[in-house]
Subunit: 188 residues, 2 copies
């Protein structure tokens, strides 16, 4: 087997999620993930630090997309509209990935350690968004509150999008969740 | 030394925070905390599971206060006003405790494990608030979004209240942060 394997990273992620869904996260070993993907453990560790990180391999890219969209929103855009641009950019990543996302959500919901890792991911996203908003000239506490609001919409919207009967796109669900947040904070 | 020590729980919490601030959280042992408080390790473990939980001993009581105030808000109150009642009840707990809270925030900011524990506390609070709002008849996603908004205000407000130059009460800062959240989500 050569050192370079086409799509190794994606194959490992797919194999890991399959095994976590079938047997449970705790019961799955890196050796089993590598075997299912037709790769070696050594190749696994070239791509992921451990079996937990397979589930969070896209976090940095997602955060970058979200933050860049906030940074590049039109100059006069209100903070919440810049955050909305970030939500749109983030949502686009998940086109065609609802079933994968549902499986991932189920695996995370079944394990406390993974839930904690997910909370850290969202807190990191919120801090990065607040930073991007401050660089746009938004002052505190508006920057932090807008960032928290954006992450709340992402979190709640994502949960709704992965619910059993949901058929709308993530982008649609995010937009509706943002409108709903605006309505509740307006006292509606 | 008798089995029952007056104010043992508070004395241990005070001693722990002092030692964490002086020497760092990692460098402090349970034995040292007990000694500083003039108590035994055995007494420590009657009150706290470990040295981390000393910093989170008030979390359950805080969550109960917050949630009960939401549950008991006047029947016709809009969800965000019920959440505001919860913020008021929670803020009252911290009267006269700003210096303690500042020290605690500094200890937590210096340690990743403690930051994670704090995130779990806030996620648990958000889930409990959403539950209380649903029991008031608030539907989804409004219940979850209002709960997330309430926790965002609590988090950002608390950080502002513990900032160096801040002199207003936590209640005032929370109210202002909620108004600011309303302004940013309204696109202002």
């Amino acid at each position: 087997m050569g050192r370079w394997e086409p799509n190794a990273r994606e194959r490992l992620a797919k194999a890991a999620l399959e095994l976590y869904s079938e047997r449970g996260y705790e019961q799955t070993t890196v050796a089993e993930i590598a075997k299912r993907a037709g790769l070696t453990e050594r190749t696994f560790f070239r791509h992921y630090a451990d079996k937990r990180e397979v589930l969070f391999g896209g976090s940095v890219a997602l955060q970058d997309l979200f933050v860049n969209a906030v940074a590049e929103a039109p100059g006069p855009a209100a903070p919440i509209d810049a955050a909305a641009a970030g939500l749109e950019a983030a949502a686009a990543v998940f086109d065609g990935r609802r079933e994968h996302s549902r499986q991932r959500q189920a695996v995370i919901a079944a394990n406390t350690e993974l839930q904690e890792r997910e909370l850290i991911k969202l807190a990191s996203l919120s801090a990065a968004l607040a930073d991007a908003l401050r660089r746009r000239g938004v002052t505190e506490p508006a920057a932090s509150l807008t960032a928290e609001a954006g992450v709340a919409v992402f979190k709640v919207g994502f949960e709704r999008w992965t619910a059993a009967a949901e058929e709308r796109t993530l982008s649609q669900v995010m937009r509706e969740s943002l409108e709903e947040l605006k309505a509740v904070t307006a006292g509606g």
